[in-house]
Symmetry: C2
Subunit: 243 residues, 2 copies
DNA sequence: AGCATTATATGATTTTTGTCATGACGCGGT
DNA sequence: ACCGCGTCATGACAAAAATCATATAATGCT
């Protein structure tokens, strides 16, 4: 069971200790940077700080939720569970990511699930507080809209990539995404099974394995279990572009 | 009825005529309903009213644009042009639709193209005016965010439908979308070629034609050229669900 | 350590979908 | 009316990807 850890992070319970303010800068929660100290105080007043174990569900699709998630550490997968039982992993959330399940001002039903890939430390913040701040602080409102817009463009791009590219292009996309967006390193140990990597790439695990093996044979990547190293990024980019 | 609206709209240059205000209610531009008369006056001050002929490009992907589009009549396709030359039609815009190409507050680059499927009458409004109103009128800001959120959920849904369903399910989706979202009638004459219907359904035109033919054989639809009639909506829904 | 369970890998086969080729039909322009 | 062009339709075939089967490696548990 996930445990509330307000005791372990006592500094964070009140703003006077400087913890939440620090968290916002340190963890790069850019979305909150326009807020004044007073507004932050208001925001975090009754927030809950939770640690999820690997594999635990942070949010479940189609359930109702009145809070948003701010990831402080760890990785989580955001995925849609389709009617046929197959999952589509939409993105990976990491430190500093801010997640609204179905969106503010649009009902409380979550349109995707979130599951911890590693232990995840996060803060759950009441949506109502965000809507209040949305009205009071225009820069914050602009930030929220911009966040949504970017998400929109991201999804538009993913739609095209997933429907128009052949499998090697999609595998290349997934590997480049992990390198550049998540780990920011050429070699990384991804806490993702082949099944999950396949769900990110819109294919079966068998197909993913085969293509990864081809990439390995072509010296584009080095693979050892969950550790993947990008050896030839330019070729992967070419494969991604080519389709 | 339609004539009255259109004749008033021709003098839409000033609010004194009551036209833009009428337009907002009559054409159901809900996004603008929170605005005061003064704000509307400000918004439409130097707007441009344009008529596009069938086939004309209203917005071109990857170009810069500083305005948003409000469709007053006609139909237009919003589509992404992918690197391999194939198009993905994301949605059809109709009367009352409000379109921001790449989004407010996020650069001016358009992330998709818009082309008129029929003659399209629309107003182009300066994005800067919207951002000003966003700051001044909170209800309007909420409406914009809600619009974006809905768009997000729509794209999420389309991503899953296009990647997880077999072709018959996707064709069923397209037909149901046209019936319920665009024409609001069981029988409709769609100004879309088979190629375009295929681009909405993420498949080749040949595949679309074949599946439409099967649906016709199964008495699910009646087809005569561009006129399509949904005869058995429940079966189409079942096919859509099934995958 | 030994066993059960899960994840990974790989070949054989089938299903799904796209590509190519061809013909029919409809429509605008001369 | 005739031609040319684009759309629509349909069959034959090829390519892409999923499924199935099975083997191996890794992991967790008692």
């Amino acid at each position: 069971m996930a445990n509330i850890i307000e005791s372990t992070c006592t500094n964070c319970a009140k703003l006077e200790d400087g913890c939440c303010k620090t968290c916002i800068t340190e963890h790069k929660f850019n979305i909150f940077s326009p807020l004044t100290n007073e507004e932050i105080e208001f925001l975090i007043d009754d927030k809950k700080q939770i640690i999820y174990k690997t594999g635990e569900t942070i949010m479940k699709q189609n359930t109702s939720s009145t809070h948003v998630v701010c990831v402080r550490s760890g990785l989580a997968k955001l995925y849609v569970e389709s009617d046929n039982g197959k999952n589509v992993i939409v993105r990976i959330a990491k430190k500093g990511d801010f997640i609204t399940g179905g969106g503010l001002f649009n009902g409380s039903v979550q349109h995707f699930s979130i599951t911890a890939l590693t232990p995840v430390r996060c803060c759950l913040i009441d949506s109502a507080k965000l809507t209040t701040l949305f009205s009071e602080n225009n820069s914050f409102a602009v930030g929220l809209l911009r966040y949504n817009t970017k998400q929109n463009n991201y999804l538009l791009n993913k739609l095209v990539n997933h429907t128009q590219k052949y499998m090697p292009g999609r595998v290349a996309d997934t590997l480049l995404y992990l390198k550049n967006e998540i780990f920011a390193e050429s070699a990384f140990q991804a806490p993702l099974t082949r099944q999950e990597l396949a769900e990110m790439s819109n294919m079966t695990k068998e197909s993913f394995v085969r293509i990864l093996h081809q990439f390995k044979d072509s010296k584009l990547v080095a693979v050892d279990g969950n550790t993947i190293e990008i050896l030839n990024e330019n070729s992967l980019i070419a494969i991604s572009k080519n389709g």
